[in-house]
Symmetry: C2
Subunit: 391 residues, 2 copies
């Protein structure tokens, strides 16, 4: 059973084709794992070998092309007809003298697509430099164009079914955060707490199973001054605080959620920063309405925390949705940051990530929200927004 | 505390420089996350933004260059002097009109490196097509060469300390597999078992904490005919079997381990395949001695299972070591496959991955081994090698 109806995949494809047309593209080679999943349903841990979903503007279904060994896995995950699952032979794997681009080029020639205007993603993991160069050399009649973020922009506005999965993911995020706040205690090995949190996120709720999250960040003590760090095997220490950034997942849709936990009475500066950050968050959530711009939301946040003497040098959020381990959960389109004039539309979803990283200490507070038809943003989580202080 | 001594990092760098010299390279831009970790220690979930470890042939230490926000995390993980941690400003993030390559190019010019012969990895995630093209355009006096797998080949022969971490990872793999065999039961939601297994791998042993594994594969029933699939939220079913491929991790070093669990009396063909596969594994482990070649080991396996009427179309193993979520644990160098004439050396480590994927069913059996100074291969796991049958 696939997570989406065939009609939803076809609807996505129709939207992508409209963008292809506008960009003058006749064929799309989609190599980004999240985009492959979005367009075809393909879902397996095989993105370390060359593989593409190929979408021709004049075909109803895309084709999946990857390693022969993975074609079996494609059968269970893609919405397309089996004839549209094509595997390349094993001799292209692990041989520096043979590049799978040879197979892709031959396939395009066979289909009569070798003289087309071909879009390929220039800035995504999953498409290497060598791949593009090899295709260019082997298909001299084709014209290659950068189609980076083309599919991502379609992904940016979610469907009702996607929103439903994100609501379920929100329940899982809440469950994970509850377990995290519980697990973090003086003397507990950080890695043991991380294990609890992963297990909670993967179990999910009795109704909705979770999945492997894209990642979990959990720096503690002085390391809480840095983003993107994990944890260590040292124990948590009384007098230190820990920044938790986690994500519940349903069908690869992530809902990011961040809170800080202090062990023992926190320094006044931490509570002060929390208060300012929360005030800024509430102002930003209220400002994030359909019709406004990304940069306007950011400005509201900066203005609010500015009154308390703070500023945040990095963006305050980004479009969120499909995530894969090691590939982030970012849609890589709109950012809540100065200069981003993207107009908010209903069912855009953002991770409002208010990481406040200071010199030697820091605090995180985040929510994932949906832009509503009218009125302020709706968050997927209902977890209490405070600095958690434990004895 | 870093997992390796400064002297070990410098030793790695010396070996890399010898290969640079042989290839005529004066500068290396290392963008592969596992290679960055190997050369510098850098360890954070930030590989979705452009970042490099840059190694000049005439400098003792490499430099880490990445997003300003991640420079704080670099401080806690790299072995180099803080002066060799360089962050680029936030305005390069999430802006299609500004590419961080501008910053990298300016930096290379400042250092007087813009006329050099520069190696960059053409076939790794972490280096996009756009990055290389932008660097080429901005540095017209530089000569770019493919340095793919250069660092990987140095990684292929492990140091005593790396072997020690893999021994610890082997203990964690055994623990994880014990939990897996226990957790898989009729009626249990597959995702709940996966949660248990992740937690076990991340907890590790009382002495050695584990880490987030690169991945976990656990297809059951008919899906066991495919590699690289995860699990579903359906319950396990009596009469079906499940293929488990997991990895214990210490300091990002992985030890892969695979077993099949049958619920209820398995069909005779499954036990028959297990027997043949095990016989092949034992023969391959005995054959994998220093001085022989990768393809010779593979031939021994095929010959052994061939006597029982089986053949394996895909490679039977590959060099294993540092892994990251979504990035695989493969060293991407030697493979145990026909045509690979790599000569085995002591302290090379391989994942002997005997996935036997048939039409509608399948079996897995794997071990991670070290090539010893003399004698047969030494496995890192001591988990019983059998088809686990549960009532």
């Amino acid at each position: 059973v696939l997570p989406f109806e065939r009609s939803e995949y076809l609807d996505r494809i129709a939207k992508i084709k409209r963008r292809m047309e506008a960009a003058g593209l006749e064929l799309l080679l989609i190599g980004d794992p999240a985009n492959m999943y979005y367009v075809s349903g393909y879902n397996a841990l095989s993105y370390y070998v060359p593989q593409y979903v190929i979408l021709a503007i004049d075909e109803e279904e895309p084709i999946w092309v990857g390693r022969e060994q993975d074609a079996a896995g494609a059968k269970y995950t893609v919405f397309m007809d089996r004839a549209n699952i094509i595997g390349y032979p094993e001799h292209y794997i692990g041989d520096p003298d043979r590049h799978a681009s040879e197979f892709f080029a031959d396939l395009l020639r066979e289909r009569g697509w070798d003289g087309r205007v071909i879009g390929i993603e220039y800035e995504t993991h999953g498409v290497t430099y060598g791949t593009v160069v090899q295709l260019q050399q082997r298909l001299p009649n084709a014209t290659f164009q950068d189609s980076n973020a083309l599919v991502n922009w379609v992904r940016t506005v979610k469907s009702p079914q996607e929103i439903e999965y994100m609501r379920q993911a929100g329940l899982i995020s809440d469950h994970g955060m509850r377990v995290a706040v519980e697990a973090i205690q003086p003397g507990v090995r950080q890695s043991d707490a991380a294990a609890e949190i992963y297990a909670a996120l993967m179990r999910g709720t009795p109704e909705y199973a979770g999945e492997v999250p894209e990642g979990l960040m959990m720096p503690t003590g002085e390391r809480a001054s840095a983003s993107h760090l994990l944890w260590t095997e040292e124990p948590f220490v009384r007098g230190e605080s820990t920044n938790i950034e986690l994500g519940g997942v349903r069908h690869r849709y992530h809902v990011g959620l961040s809170r800080t936990v202090a062990l023992g009475e926190p320094p006044a500066r931490l509570q002060d920063l929390q208060d300012a950050t929360l005030e800024g968050m509430e102002a930003a959530l209220d400002a994030a309405r359909a019709g406004t711009t990304c940069e306007a939301v950011e400005a509201v946040y900066q203005r609010t925390i500015g009154k308390h003497g703070y500023a945040k040098p990095s963006r305050i959020g980004y479009s969120i949705g499909i995530g894969y381990p090691g590939m982030d959960w970012n849609d890589f389109t709109a950012s809540l940051k100065p200069g981003d004039t993207t107009v908010l539309e209903p069912n855009m979803t953002f991770h409002l990530m208010l990481g406040m990283w200071m010199e030697g200490w820091g605090l995180v507070l985040s929510e994932t929200f949906r832009v509503t038809e009218s009125g302020p943003a709706e968050t997927f989580s209902s977890f209490e927004r405070k600095l958690f202080v434990k004895p």
